[in-house]
Symmetry: none
Subunit: 208 residues, 2 copies
Amino acid sequence: MISVMIVDDDPFVSGSLKIILDNEPDIEVKAVANSGEEAVKLAPQVAPDVIVMDIRMEGMNGTDAAQKILENGSKAAVLFLTTFLDDEYINKALKIGAMGYIIKQDCGSLPSSVRAVASGQAVFGGKVVEKLPDLLNRKERFDPSEFDITPKELEVIELVADGLSNKEIAEKMFLGEGTVRNMVSSILTKLDLRDRTQLACFYYQKMV
Amino acid sequence: MISVMIVDDDPFVSGSLKIILDNEPDIEVKAVANSGEEAVKLAPQVAPDVIVMDIRMEGMNGTDAAQKILENGSKAAVLFLTTFLDDEYINKALKIGAMGYIIKQDCGSLPSSVRAVASGQAVFGGKVVEKLPDLLNRKERFDPSEFDITPKELEVIELVADGLSNKEIAEKMFLGEGTVRNMVSSILTKLDLRDRTQLACFYYQKMV
DNA sequence: TTCTTAAAATGACATTTGTCATCTCCTAAA
DNA sequence: TTTAGGAGATGACAAATGTCATTTTAAGAA
């Protein structure tokens, strides 16, 4: 039997998660916390095998709470939930030793993810993995807002620096090829560069 | 019902895996391949949801086989098995879009891993995750003689990776523009790349 | 609702790029 | 000496790229 603690500041969400997980014969929700602080307090008493935790919460956020809990000696495997792709958190989640990072939307996969995490495997939402190499390598000594580079443009930059053609980028981002061309063009203007190769060089010299 | 194909060049291992997985009510082993080549051949007919594959095999290795299979349009989620921590393979596995990378030893977690992978989550053995940040940052050293890159070609590569156009490179090296074009073309062939941007990426990822 | 603005797409265009066949030198080996 | 081979060059060509003007679409503000 896998014992679970759920942490989410939205009672509706935590309630739903509890129902989903309690419905599984081999999973038991032992506690529900409505904030990071409460989770830190409950963890030692409950001693769950798995902690399912929202990463973005009012007050103490998910990663900080998890860090505290693990520092306090908990053996729990932490499985983070996120509504969308929070790039910024993945790094920290990995660093503190989280065992999972999945998208809230596909709750259908939650039980199997909990089991996998309980058995010592690490689980990531599919989309997260695709970005993993980029995310871990990025060192951010470049401030995109400085040149008002939009998030979408940043994505294009990373794909160009991965060697993709405009057509490939278009497919990956669900845009028209011409659009990508325009975006690249606009990026080049903003960064005062001439072509995509210079953009790739810029990326590796200034952004990685 | 999750359909699975098992790939391992050790019949004892593949047999054991089949027994373990067939024992699960919601998992069905549809095929067992004893080599990478066989897996590539079988994949289109079997069309499994998940491919459980040994990463280190005689003949075609796991990553190459998986790459081929995915290129052929298979929608399968690939779950790699490894006897211990094969650092070298993780990078490539991630790059080709593998959905799992776990340790053979803890077969107890295999069913739950298969389920998680089938539901679109990515799964990694616990120890793998700890090493992930290091692994992704490390770059394999590049040996120019390996690809018989001439010294002059090496110079061209560096200039391309500096963002220069063919014309600029030609001026700098006192060559014709066409010659530079041919040299770049030859370099691309040798390194199995498509265009100068990919060459620049290659340079920063493998050569600097 | 209408108006406004930003994002996305289109089409036309010049340029760059990558590939290939071919040609000219030049040099080293026979 | 002849010859084979490499480096460099040329021309032709298709494809990809970057730029620009313009249009369509979607979403918000009025």
